[in-house]
Every structure is written in structure tokens, then in C-alpha cells.
Symmetry: C2
Subunit: 600 residues, 2 copies
Amino acid sequence: MSQVIHRRSIDFLLHEVLGYGDLAGTPRFSAFDRAAVTEILDTAQAIAENEFLPLAAEMDAQEPRFIEGRAHAHPGAKRALDACAQAGLFAAGFDPDLGGLGMPVTVTTLINGTLAAANIALANYQFLTVANANMLAAFGTDEQKALFLPPMLEGRWFGTMCLSEPQAGSSLSDIRTRAEPVEGRLHRITGSKMWISGGEHELAENIIHMVLAKRPDGPPGVKGISLFIVPKYRVGQDGTPGARNNIALAGLNHKMGQRGTTNCLLNFGEDGDCLGYLVGEPHQGLAYMFHMMNEARIIVGANSTMTGMAGYLYSLDYARTRQQGRRPQNKDATSPQVPIIQHADVRRMLLAQKAAVEGALALTCYCTLLVDRMAATPDAAERGDMHLLLELLTPMAKSWPSEHCLEANKHAIQILGGYGYTRDYPVERHYRDNRLNAIHEGAYGIHGLDLLGRKVRQQDGRALDLLVLEIGRTLDAAETQGGFGTEVADLHAALTAMGRATRAALAAPDLDRGLANATAYLDACGHTVIAWLWLRQAVTASRALAAGLGRGEAAFYSGKIAACRYFFRYELPRALHQFALVERLDDTCLSITPAEFLGN
Amino acid sequence: MSQVIHRRSIDFLLHEVLGYGDLAGTPRFSAFDRAAVTEILDTAQAIAENEFLPLAAEMDAQEPRFIEGRAHAHPGAKRALDACAQAGLFAAGFDPDLGGLGMPVTVTTLINGTLAAANIALANYQFLTVANANMLAAFGTDEQKALFLPPMLEGRWFGTMCLSEPQAGSSLSDIRTRAEPVEGRLHRITGSKMWISGGEHELAENIIHMVLAKRPDGPPGVKGISLFIVPKYRVGQDGTPGARNNIALAGLNHKMGQRGTTNCLLNFGEDGDCLGYLVGEPHQGLAYMFHMMNEARIIVGANSTMTGMAGYLYSLDYARTRQQGRRPQNKDATSPQVPIIQHADVRRMLLAQKAAVEGALALTCYCTLLVDRMAATPDAAERGDMHLLLELLTPMAKSWPSEHCLEANKHAIQILGGYGYTRDYPVERHYRDNRLNAIHEGAYGIHGLDLLGRKVRQQDGRALDLLVLEIGRTLDAAETQGGFGTEVADLHAALTAMGRATRAALAAPDLDRGLANATAYLDACGHTVIAWLWLRQAVTASRALAAGLGRGEAAFYSGKIAACRYFFRYELPRALHQFALVERLDDTCLSITPAEFLGN
């Protein structure tokens, strides 16, 4: 059994539940039929298992070191990333005219997720480079693209995102990094950037930083932020790296997890010239960054999900083999012990993991298919609707796994008991690694504000209407299929609660009050969406079972139905209660004063 | 502000809510009035802050090393533990005729909790030694007590608990360690013991292992387990350590947290004689161990709670000073940023921590007061009832904090954002440290089985009746006080649900089915009990406010009421849903087959 990925579940989602075939039927993605995708994922899985996984524990134990102003990553990292580059995994998603392979985002996200399940610290380097290059491909000039994209797509140059500063994390409005125009697109950059993953290392020939900075002529706040390409080594007209830009590694952050990824405080232009190139128009930097961020957020969610999957697979394998205790009904101490998967509570922890991980994976794939379908459709109106729906789902796709697949990792540790708490087994590392995903690319609470403060308000709430319409199709299908009466009723109840909560929040006397429970809203909407996608999976599984299937497959399908029922029975009820908090504009949290926390 | 403990909240619990004064009024504990307790806790806090806290990060980073068969703990550990011993903190809880100070368990638990909040890895050595000595004091012969207790109470010899083996963790029934009688109480011990905290180190002059082993004449299962004193260095009649027993350190476990405590695989008598002394009667070992374990479990819960408190205090302090962003209503980017405690979601995460930590602390103190009141009362019937109630509450006191104060630590990380994820701040260490508490001293699921499979069944459910009676007193007080109508109704509803769930589980067709949702039952009972103790705190606070109070104190009391309301509104509803799962004997988890998890 793979410790990285359960391919059958992915095949099920793509080809049986979510209609990947329709996408492969479009001219844009006709090269990526089921056989092609299988082959690509085989390659990614082989690299993940053979190159990434064997390094995971060691990269965690031997954190990057800061020596004489340089960051030294694990020496094995380069080989693994080279294997990744040679297999075309950096270039996979880019247009062929840019040197890419033109794969759907659905496939490239699964590639990255597969690598992340094996070794997320290593996968980050590839992910950040691709995200960076994506932004360049979308907004760079032809000259910029010609200069920077080829080496990045070949995996020779890596990329970073430089948004946060020591004093500005969630509030990008308050960044202080400056960009002084020199001539044309050339600017002189000064300032400090914090939490820069892959900000410094010797794994690539050059590092291309995408830096948010403010020009002197910009307005205050986010509307005065511009985007710049700032290479570690300046690049000549011929594309060869030349002199070093003045970018000083001021320190490495020592993290709880994802320790193999260097994470840096960088000082730009502190002690000499640091030159950068404006991307696109001045003061549009945040909009450009968000173009990339939205996809990056789905990928963060996907990687969180896949970290959950790795823990699920490991703990399931352990539970099948570890002998311990007897069922409660059996009081005979001389009878043989049973594999712990026989214990109801171990099954609960496995079902909780399965429901979280395979539910979240369905959301990831649903979102990436929206991205791909948008790219493939010639119909602008349809594309507009897909865009709205994607915007609505993105905060959930990013945040829900970061909470509930982290919880899955917690269960995996518990199943292994004392062993799970040691570094001899991977599950405690998964837990540490996954804890980051609720923090970076927008902290959890920020996504709640984004969802309830912005996304559900766009176009008079059209996005939510579209979602309800989509869910309605599944409800209809479930009623037609039969056997899901309780689930249909429960999902209807959740939708009703969601509608009431949304209307109440939007009608609140002021924004502070309306958004006071935005995080609960985010979590409850996530639960509702995951419940929907579980029902959709269960209906498909039920149909497959009704059609009659061979050995092994029947258990696969009935397992999907069991996980669906688990999710509805054990997990979905919390959404109702959270929606109720939002609906009654509960101000318990808003109204407590700072002094009341301790009383002095 | 202390980063370790909020003394005002402890004073409130002991002296205003839970009636510590009644205990101090008994002959047994008359020496420990409020002034004396304050002084003792001052001492513990000073040692925690001055000796324990400064070592915490370093002991975490510099894990014990295994060199030539010996474990080398952090060199600073000995000094801190010596300070602890010199202040009498090892001897604090023992009877004066054994050389102790006779303090109530309520106070010694707070002492240990204070040390644990500062540095749990270090506090473990003291805790295990005391727990070990407690067992000896209860069941050892006069000779054993004379030989072993004095150096342990002086903190010169340390103690361990040797229960688990590599193949037997939750299932002690299946231990294989053997004890061959030599003569009298002397036995020859052979076997391997796993997860032995403090199992080997050079911090003490001797290490006294309390070892569970099976004699050849015993029946199978737990009824054939005996308890032995097995010293690292054999002890002559005069009490001086002599030759080394054959106990080999086979390996150190490398844990996610609590890294400063050595954790060992020990081989007894593998390569020479390992001599141990029977404690009490043969085959009664597990009963003796549980005498100690019950108190140890409350202490594990207390330490989990205090680890939660340390994170709460740290993140609260951070939230009051860290400037970031603006309230949603304010769209002016040129206005100054606000301390993040102004954001509703940060307040939610602080309230969640406060509710979990101060709620759990109330449960800890309630339980330890039961222990002390049992020791102080001359009334056997009253003592019997207290014992029943304590038995019922112990699984909750151990388990509830391990889940919900871990969640509190997760929130503390989130409040610090990226900083919280780094090892430059203590909150990620708290999170790693606290993760162990759901695993050791009985894994989470085991306590669910203990509660629903045993505790609620004793004496026709009398323990639960006693609990409901106690809760009824608080409900009456809340109605008299006024202002808690919603909370009274909600707690009534939870009690009704608890009763129905309990009856249904006990009437189940078989034990496997009746216990299938024992973990949900444990969690829901814990929530109900914590809600009760919050209401009790809130009623007291409301009375204090009505009595009119000076500045500062008013915020303290209204903060308690706010936390109570938070718990009822945001947290308690989950209990209803979990009780419903138990009541309907939901078999989703029980009935899924191993093959269905993946389908092959």
C-alpha cells in the first residue's frame, strides 16, 4: 500500500464523480485523457515515493543552517528536485508556447499534492516556483517572460513570494518596503520581507523573488502596492545570471514543521543596490498577487489534504497489523489479541480521517476543475459563473483542510499511540507540517472575513445561489437513487441554516457585528460543502454498487457510502450550531473587553 | 504578567467557588489555611519562573542523548530539580510521619501544575517520583518504606512507573515481564518495558522503578499481575545504593514534545541478575497501580490544563501588544493599526482558551478537593459517595483537558501567526508537549470505555446520580441569583441528554454496541461537567459583582461570566449531538469493515 496517495480514490473522483472526461473532451485539454493523466500521476507518484519520501524524516531532523549569510538546505534536496524538473513537473501546467506542457490545473495540483504527501518541505520549492512563474506568465512583459520563465520552467531557477514583513502579516495594507523608480520598469528596492519560504538556498542557479512594494507616488493602503521581479542574481540581456543583488539573509526561521523549506527574513537594498523590475501597471500589485494567490490557496488546501491522506494511509496500515486488546464483549484474557482496527474507537478515528481527507480532496478537485473548465469554455457567461463559484469556494478549499485534515493527522498519531508521538514514525511530522496551513497564504480568520465580508456579497449573492443550484442537482440525484433520505433532509437543513445565517449577517447593523462570527461561518459553509460532495460521492458509489461489481470494488464503493454517512452523522451537526451563532449575530466574542480576559 | 500561572483565577476557584476554606477547617488540614497556601504557591511559582521556565526552550532543543548505554539529560535540569527538592516540593504531600509536610492534594497538584506550566519536561521527574512514592507509602512494608521513601521525599532518588511493554500498551493484560520468586519478597525480574519516562538519567543518586510483572503462579490476564520495586542500584540494609541491577537502557524514544524528559526502552535482567521486591500481595499489582494511577490521571489532566494556561497567558499578552490591521468597519488605511485583541476572531480564540483552561482548572480543583475531603472526613458513608463521584470524574479530568486544552494551545499559535509557528516563541512547544496527554496514563479512548463501561455502571449508577445532585445545587443557585435563564435551560437539556444516552448505552443488546460511541460519551460528559463548573463560577462572579467591587475586580468577575456564556453558546451544543449518537447506539463506526476503508 502506498504511504503517499490512494490513487483509486482520485480516479473515482475524477472519472466517476466529477466528470473529468468532459474536460478532456474539450479542444484545450484533449491531450490529457484518462490514460495520459494516469501516466502523469504514475510519474509523480514514483518521484514522490522514490525521491521525496526517503528524505522526509532527514530533512525534518536536519533543518537548514545559516552559515555566513547563506542558507544551507539538506544536500539531498537538489537531487530530488532535479528529478522533478527532469520529469517536466515544473513546466507541466504552462502553455506550450511558453515551454510548458499545457496540463490542466487539476492534474498539476494532484502532482504537487502527491509530492507534498511524501515531503511537503521539498514540494514547497516546486510549488512556489510554479506559482511565481504563473504570475509572470499572466502579467509579465514579453521580455520579462522570455528572460525569466524558461529557466523556471526547467527547474533551474526557483521562485518566491515576498508579501509579509515583520510588522505586516495579515495586514498587507501596512507594508513598508519601498520601490524608487530608476528608469522604465527598473526600480531600486529597500525593505525587509519576513516568512519567505525558499528565500535563500543553494538549490537553484538563481532565485526570483516576487516582491510587493510601494512606490512614492502611490496612495496609502493596498491601492498603493506594486509588484516587482527581484532576482537574487541580476540577469543580463542574454539571460545569464550576473552580479548579486543586495539581498541579505538576515535570519532563518526555525519552524515547528515544514522544516526542510528554508524560511527567511530578507533585507532588500539595506547595504547596496537592489534592483527590481515592475510587473504590469504600478499600484496593481495586490490584484496581480491575488490572481496567483487564489490558485495558491487551493494548492495549500490540497497539500494540507494530502498531508492528511499520508497520515490516514499510514495509520490505517498500522491499525490493520498492530495487535492490541480484545473487543469489549470478549472477557477471555487467554484469547488472542485483535488488530486494533477491530476496536470501534480506532475505526472512528480512521473514519474521521477518511471523511476529512477524501471529502477535502473532492473539494480540491471540484475547484481545480472549475479553473480548468473556465480555461476550456468559449462561453463568457458560463465562465463568469464559474469564476464566481470558484471565488466563493476558494476560502473553504484553503481553510477547511487546514483545520480538519490537521485533526485527521491528530487521529493518526492517536492510533499509533506512544509510537505515533515519536519521530520514528511519520505521523507526528505530518501533524507539525500541517499546522502551518492555517497560518500561511491568509490566516484562517482572514478567509472567514473574505467569505462573509466579500464573496457572498458579490453580485447580490449570486455565488451562493450558484452553489445552492449545484447542491440541488446532487440532492435530486440522491432522491432519484434512493437510500439517502436522512442525508437529503440533513443537507436541506444545512442549506436552510446557511441561507438564514447569510441573510442575517448581511443585514447586520454594522460590519463589525455582521462579521463577528465570520470564522464560524467559514467552517460551517465548509462543512456544508463537504457534506454535499460526500453525498455526491455516495450517490455515485451507490449507482456503481447497483450496477453490480467485482470483488474488492464493492468494498471500495460501500466504504465511500460509509464515510458519507459518518460525515453526516458525526460531523455535519456542528454546522447547524455554527450557523445559528451567525444568524443571531452573537456578540459574545465581539463584546468582551481586553480587561475582562484576566481582570487587570 | 506571569507567563506561567494566573494566581487570581486559582484563588477565585479555591476560596470563592469551591470552598477550600471548609477543608482548611478540618483537623487534618488545619495547617493549610489561605495564607499558608498562598505562601506555598508563591514558592512554587518562584521556582517555576526562575528555575524551570528559563530552561524550557533549551531542554526542548537539546534532547537527552544516548551515549554508551546511558541517558544524558540537560545539564541544567539537576539544579532546577534540586531547588524543587530543597523547597520541600517532593515531600509536600506526604504524611508528616513519613517525613512529609502533609499538604492537601489540591495544593500539591497546583504545585506540580505550576512547574508543568513552566517546563513540563522537567516537572515530570518530580511528578513521577511523587507518584511512585505515594504507591510505596500506601502499599509498601514498613521496611520498604523506611528504605526507599526518605531519599525520594528528599528528591535524591527518583521514581518511574514501568507498565507498558513494546507489545502491550493499552492492553496491560498482555504484559510478558516475568518475576521469578527467589526468597521472601525478593524476585528475579526479566522483560522489556517501553515508554519509561525518567527511566534512565544521571539526575538522581538512584532510580526506583515500580514494575508490573507476572509471577509463574498467577492466572492469565490482569489478575496475574504483581507489583515490584526494582531499584537501578540495589540498596543495602543501611540504605546506601550498592551494585547496579541489570537494567539496560536499550534506547531513548525521540518524542514530538516533552523532549526534556528521558523516555526509555529498558531491558530488565537480560544479561544478568535484576532483583526486585514484591509490593503487597502477589497478583494485586494492577489494583495497587490504579490507586496511584487515579491520582496520576488527575495530575496529567492538571498539567495539560496548565500547559493550556501558559499558552493562553502568552497569546493574551501578545494580542494586547501586537498591532495589526483595523476593525472591519474602518476602511481608512491611513488610520493607525489596532492591537489584534480588537479583532473579534482573536477574541474568540482567547475566549476559547480561557473557557477551556479555566473550566478545566475548575474540574481539576473539584477533583483534588474530593480527594482531600475524603482524607479529612470521619464519615465513611460520605467518603464512599465522594469516592464514587471521584471515580466518575477522573476519566473526564484526565481526558477533557488533553483534547480541549490542546485545542487552546492551537489557538495560541494561531494568535501569534507565523511567529507562533516558530521555536522562538513558546506556544508551538506547548502544543507539542500537550499532545502527549491524550496518549499516556490511559489513551483517550480507554477512558471512554472506563467511564461508560464501568464507572456509570457501579452501584446501579449511583455515581451519576450524585453528580446530577451536585449539578442540581448549582442550577438552584443560578435560578436564585438570576440572569442565567438560558444557561440553566441549556444545562438541564444536557443533563437530560446525558441521562437518555446513559440508559440507552446500558440497555444495549451487547457491550460492543453499547460502547461503540464511548469516546463521544466521554467528551460530551466532560462538556456537561465543564458547563456546570462554568455556571458555578459565573454564579459566584455574579454574586461578587452584585456585592459591589473595586476597580479591576469588576472586570475579573464579568470576564468569568463572559467565559461562561461563551462556553454555553459556542461549545456546549456539541455535547447534545454527541449524546444523541450514544443514545441511538449509532453503529457507523462499529460496522464499517476493514476492507471498506480503502476497498482492497
